[in-house]
């Protein structure tokens, strides 16, 4: 058996998002996982191979802890400490110097074999750990940080151009995102696409599709309140469908209440009585809520690959998705769902009508194809194995 590696899966916060937590638990079955970052909530990991080194949230506790960590590093490897002190000189304020120092210190102290940054934007802060201290560096491309951050904040485009040449390997959640990130450096030979593992849980509830015997079309979207989720286009479509006489209900799971903009739109378009909101649910509740629905709609303007679409496909719920990010790799139009252009309420409206008019047999085969596809490409065990293989190539 190969030697166990120490892999730092870094997202900045502990615990991280559900898909990063899945990765952490999966990798921990094969290697030691080190977690650095600020602890937002209490969490205890069952696996003994997951080791947590938090940066305290309280400023004063952090000063205390950082002092002892610095002392520890001074005794262990003084060169690293002086190197870090040199590095933080470039920070502008005293506070930002301290923040960088306190966050990087535990990483240098515990020297992972691989530092895997989950969010590309962090490379500006942590990239020096590779260039100065030669810690092997892996960066994930998951969505927003490649899709729109460098467009809206051009300084990140420069940061990517500066640091991408030094990265050992890149992981992309879709082929599309790797292609998009290629504009910052020639990264193709160092990139691997590994789809996000989807939990077994959703596959287990799969049932062959049965068309419900009711007039109302129940449409659901899942996601937080954020402009890139594109709810506005869904509501425009909903309004048009109602004008055409369709009996339709639209639920949003994620936001407990609408934003000011959405609230205004709902009133102006008179759809307030057919919309409902549910705040974030746990996995079991989400599953139950989705089972009540007829079709999942993803009206987004940007995604890596939306997990919720995968989960819907796994459990056998038909999906309509915009052609954003890597969604086209999953939703094949009229094969595994409906794929519509972004920012196009008319197209969403047409897809819902088309879904409504599609005969049960056709829906049954689409839903089954979607299920089989996700099971094959997004299987938890297979994709974790791909990550393990991926890490092995980095330290070969």
């Amino acid at each position: 058996m190969k030697k166990k590696l120490k892999i730092a899966i870094y997202s900045g916060t502990i615990p991280s998002t559900s898909f990063i937590e899945r990765l952490i638990n999966g990798v921990a079955e094969h290697h030691e996982v080190l977690l650095f970052g600020v602890q937002k909530k209490n969490i205890s990991y069952a696996s003994k191979t997951i080791r947590v080194f938090t940066t305290p949230k309280s400023k004063w506790v952090n000063v205390f802890v950082t002092f002892f960590r610095a002392l520890h590093l001074l005794i262990k490897q003084p060169k690293l400490l002086f190197g870090l002190l040199e590095e933080i000189k470039s920070e502008k304020t005293r506070y930002s110097k301290f923040v960088k120092f306190s966050r990087c210190l535990p990483i240098l102290l515990h020297q992972p074999d691989i530092l895997h940054l989950q969010w590309a934007k962090d490379i500006g802060v942590y990239g020096f750990l590779k260039t100065k201290f030669n810690i092997p560096l892996v960066v994930s491309f998951r969505g927003a940080h490649i899709n729109y951050t460098p467009v809206v904040e051009p300084k990140y485009a420069s940061v990517y151009k500066e640091f991408f040449p030094h990265v050992d390997a890149f992981h992309g959640v879709s082929h599309t995102i790797v292609k998009k990130a290629s504009q910052y450096d020639d990264i193709r030979s160092r990139s691997t696409v590994i789809y996000s593992p989807t939990p077994e849980f959703f596959f287990n509830t799969y049932k062959p599709y049965q068309k419900p015997n009711r007039k109302t079309i129940r449409v659901v979207s899942v996601g937080r309140n954020h402009w890139k989720k594109g709810y506005q286009y869904a509501v425009d479509a909903l309004h048009q469908l109602r004008l055409k006489g369709y009996d339709i209900e639209y639920s949003l799971i994620g936001p407990a209440k609408p934003t000011e903009a959405l609230l205004f739109q709902m009133h102006q378009l008179d759809v307030i009585d057919v919309m409902s909101f549910k705040s974030q649910l746990n996995q079991q509740e989400l599953l139950e809520a989705l089972q009540y629905q007829d079709v999942l709609l993803l009206p987004s303007l940007g995604e890596g690959i939306a997990n919720v679409v995968l989960e819907a496909m796994a459990m056998g719920l038909p999906v309509i998705s915009t052609d954003c990010g890597g969604m086209a790799e999953v939703v094949k139009h009229m094969e595994t769902g409906w794929l519509v252009p972004m920012r196009d309420a008319k197209a969403i409206e047409a897809a819902i009508i088309d879904f409504y008019n599609t005969p049960e047999n056709k829906l049954k085969s689409m839903v089954s194809e979607a299920h089989v596809f996700v099971k094959r490409e997004f299987d938890y065990a297979t994709n974790i194995a791909k990550f393990i293989e991926f890490y092995n190539t980095v330290v070969k």
Binding site: Y148, V151, V152, W227, D236, E260, A261, F264, Q268, L269
Partner: protein
């Protein structure tokens, strides 16, 4: 006659609406005083009274409260009337104490009219006018009527039952006020914003030069209600048709990120410029060099910028959101397009571009003349004099 106007802060130089109103009324022998939450650094030619500030430090706040209460001693009768009125509607003692503190500058004022510049400004001050023996007026503007009551339904009920007269900046605003619970019996007046005609004496000769990119402008905060994403989508459709243009958005705001991203995704890089906030003078300069002005908002209380664009001989294309159809008469002084419909907006723009220059000149002239005749500060001042008399 003495009029106290309540605002969040003194109007900046560019807020023609308030400045011209205050100046005009003073010239007609009215005394106008301004009551604000926060004083600004700009010098004003009128009396400005600020509300006492709240402190985060409890002990400091305690001292401040004692001081403010002591300063109210000469107005004890007013304060006791205020407390009585507040109690009659069941407000809690702590809220009443808070309201005495925040309204103390108003409770000391000697006024004939207490006019709240925004309806939201009258919240928690509903009983002040009655307590000081003044009449109460409120202005109904965009956010006041369009958005706030959706978030807090029924929040104006006390305002409606205490106000003597309502000023709406458009017919649309008055309708919204009625939907939001304004009593049918309350006296009201529609007084639209106005422009300083002296700034627009120069009748700029304009003709669209089709060999160059069409110059299109919008003046708007980067805010969802302004419908800028729909505008960008319409422009993307135009671009796909091969129409060349250069589009400027003048204004800043919290929604730069989604709009900037939309420019990128819609393939409009190089054709759209975010100019940020500009001075009034710079803004007028931009309008002077613009062929088409677009205001494709989801709603507007009235919109001053559209008035100014008309006087600068820009061809105005607006949505039918809120009061915009009162501001632009469809096919006479510009074009009104159903809101939230980028395809129709794009069609209208290209239809306008295909019209002959003579027909466009007629529209420009109609628009400019209508604004210069009907939306003058002179008319506005007279309307306000009638309002208070």
């Amino acid at each position: 006659m003495k009029i106290g106007i309540v605002l969040a802060q003194p109007p900046s130089y560019s807020e023609t609406f308030f400045n011209s109103k205050i100046k005009g009324l003073s010239e007609h022998g009215y005394t106008v005083e301004l009551y604000v939450r926060q004083k600004s650094l700009e010098n004003a030619n009128y009396k400005v009274v600020a509300a006492p500030k709240l402190s985060k430090n409890r002990i400091v706040q305690l001292f401040k409260t004692v001081f403010v209460l002591l300063s109210l001693l000469p107005n004890l009768k007013r304060v006791s009337r205020f407390i009585k009125l507040e109690k009659s509607i069941g407000r809690s003692s702590s809220q009443i104490l808070k309201n005495i503190y925040t309204n103390s500058h108003l409770l000391k004022a000697n006024l004939d009219w207490l006019h709240f510049g925004f309806t939201t400004m009258a919240l928690q001050s509903e009983h002040v006018a009655k307590s000081i023996g003044a009449k109460m007026a409120v202005s109904c503007r965009g956010y006041d009527m369009d958005v706030y009551p959706l978030k807090k339904p029924g929040s104006y009920n006390l305002v409606w039952s205490n106000v003597n007269k309502i000023h709406a900046i458009s017919k649309y605003m008055l309708i919204r006020a009625k939907t939001n619970g304004m009593l049918n019996t309350t006296e009201n007046a529609i007084i639209t914003p106005a422009i300083k005609t002296s700034l627009f004496q120069n009748n700029i000769e304009k003709q669209i030069d089709k060999t160059k990119p069409i110059r299109i402008t919008t003046i708007a905060r980067l805010h969802w209600i302004k419908g800028l994403n729909y505008t960008l989508e319409a422009l993307a459709l135009l671009k796909a048709k091969g129409i060349k243009f250069s589009y400027e958005i003048i204004g800043e705001g919290s929604e730069y990120e989604p709009l900037r991203f939309a420019v990128h995704e819609l393939g409009l890089e190089g054709s759209v410029n975010f100019r940020g906030k500009l001075s009034h003078q710079e803004t007028l300069k931009r309008l002077e060099n613009s062929d088409i002005y677009i205001q494709y908002s989801q709603s507007e209380g009235f919109c001053n910028a559209v008035l100014e664009a008309q006087t600068m001989n820009c061809l105005c294309i607006v949505s039918d959101g809120g009061a915009l159809p009162e501001n632009i008469l469809d096919n006479e002084t510009g074009w009104v397009v159903p809101r939230r419909n980028p395809k129709m907006l794009a069609e209208t723009i290209s239809r306008v571009l295909s019209m002959d220059s003579l027909a466009l000149r007629v529209i420009r002239t109609n628009a400019r003349e209508r604004v210069l005749n009907e939306f003058t500060i002179k008319n506005q001042i007279q309307a306000f004099i009638d309002f208070y008399e």
